[in-house]
Amino acid sequence: MTPILEARDFTFGYDGVAVVAGDKLTMEPGQVLGIAGPNGSGKSTLFRGLLGLIPAMTGTVVCNTPAIGYVPQKEVLDELYPFSAVEVVEMGGYGSLLGWRRLTREQKDRAHACLERVQLPEVAKKAYSSLSGGQRQRVLLARALMVKPKLMMLDEPTSGVDAKAARVIMDLILRLAEEENLAVGIVSHRLQDLQRAANVGVWVDEGRAHVGAAGILEQGERRAYGRVESQGDA
């Protein structure tokens, strides 16, 4: 099977300083890749590198689809913009628009259909800024679906929401991944969410990305906690 995304012998960083490196990482249809690691380990840099937001300092990153659904952290989007929920979703269709062109009726209908897929048709006309954290996250998921993605990348999709909302969001991601046969990449600091969803894990620690089965996330965390505790004892 041709991978959707393949990175080999990669190093990502900023201003010439390497932050995270790894040997081989592939993402295939139907696969959910969970990325985790201690604070400052380089997991966000890895995520941004895989998405193409920063160039690889060494190695190669090949993405075999232009249809990438990106879900940023909801906190980075400014509430000052007077968007309704459906307008945020419609933005996912802007990639195919050039210049003066506006969304077609079909694309607008699709935006409403995407909101229904994330079980939020009733908020379409509501101000995006008035929605709860969990609802905003689902609206951003709907926006990513507007792209008709083959690859979906999510940055901390359950941060800042309660456990119940986090569960709803992760169930939704899993269902969409299965139904659409998507390759999904999730970076999160909530390990229990990742462990439930991921079938491939990437544990990032001390600037190194370790790829393995989902169990690698738990092992990595145990090692990291053990290290912290032994440093505390010393």
Binding site: L51, P72, L80, Y81, S84, M91, G92, Y94, G95, G99
Partner: protein, 291 residues
């Protein structure tokens, strides 16, 4: 007050004010949404500094570079040549200042402080440059005071061309400018040339501010860039609604300011700004009531 006589005498100035009143708030809305309204203060001041600098170096420029083969006295009298000359200086200072503020301010992580610093330095330089040229001192004083009653045909044409073109481009690429402003990373993932759009937006702001400052002065520019978007935001239900509302408030404030200026014989610029300030009251009241 005979309005037909006023239109006959000051029709060009009123037309310039109304064009600025409609288009400048549209541009200011982008500054507001990007939380960079403070650029709306610094940039017109930089444009005024450019004009003052142009006056200060004019004798040297006429001797060594030339302004359409005119002598100094003739260059000062020729409104067409003088406008083009000063527009060049205003554009140079606005675009140069904007580039420096973006490069230094963003990299150092203290963008607001650097913009404030640029405003103070530009204000001081305006006074000093104007002091170096008696003709410049009068012109700059009138510009800063907001006297916009001496607009000529060429100035109106230049303002209409620059603001008209800016408006068309902003309308044409509205989705892209909004997406890049709202969610830069998603725009990048969707294949948009984020750097090109941001540079384009900066160029539109700088060109409009330079042309606007030359014609209606920095005080009116400050007011029209900053106040109508504040007035519009509490009532806006979508981005197009917000942009049109801001322009509507700007046009209304300008018309009200023009009327007040002639009614009570007051400088036009400050009247326009205060009328725009009045238009923010309904929004404040609405916000208070909602809370």
């Amino acid at each position: 007050m005979d309005f037909s006589l006023i239109l006959e005498l000051f029709g060009l100035s009123i037309a310039a004010a109304l064009i600025a009143g409609f288009v400048v708030p549209w541009i200011g809305s982008y500054l507001y949404l990007r939380r960079t309204s403070f650029y709306g203060l610094a940039l017109p001041q930089l444009a005024a500094t450019g004009v003052a600098c142009g006056f200060a170096v004019m004798p040297w420029w006429v001797d060594h570079v030339g302004i359409g083969d005119l002598e100094l006295a003739a260059a000062l009298e020729d409104t067409h040549a003088a406008m083009n000359y000063h527009l060049g200086w205003a554009s140079l200072f606005t675009m140069g200042g904007l580039a420096v503020m973006l490069l230094i301010g963003r990299r150092s992580g203290s963008e607001v402080a650097h913009v404030a610093g640029a405003f103070v330095i530009a204000s001081a330089c305006t006074v000093l440059f104007a002091h170096a040229s008696p003709m410049g001192e009068i012109f700059v004083h009138e510009l800063l005071r907001g006297e916009i009653l001496a607009v000529g045909v060429h100035e109106l044409e230049t303002l209409a061309a620059v603001l008209g073109l800016s408006f068309i481009v902003l309308l044409w690429l509205q989705n892209d400018f909004i997406l890049v402003s709202y969610d830069r990373e998603t725009a990048q993932v969707l294949g948009k040339r984020v750097g090109a759009f941001e540079a384009g937006l900066a160029l539109i702001v700088a060109a409009s501010v330079a042309a606007g400052t030359m014609t209606v002065g920095p005080v009116v520019l400050f007011g029209l860039l900053v106040l109508p978007p504040i007035a519009a935001r509490p009532f806006a239900r979508s981005i197009p609604h917000f942009l049109w509302l801001a322009s509507g408030f700007g046009l209304l404030g300008t018309a009200l300011g023009i009327w007040a200026s002639f009614q009570w014989d007051l400088p036009l610029g400050p009247c326009v700004v205060l009328a725009c300030a009045l238009s923010t009251l309904p929004g404040w009241i609405a916000t208070l009531v909602r809370k």
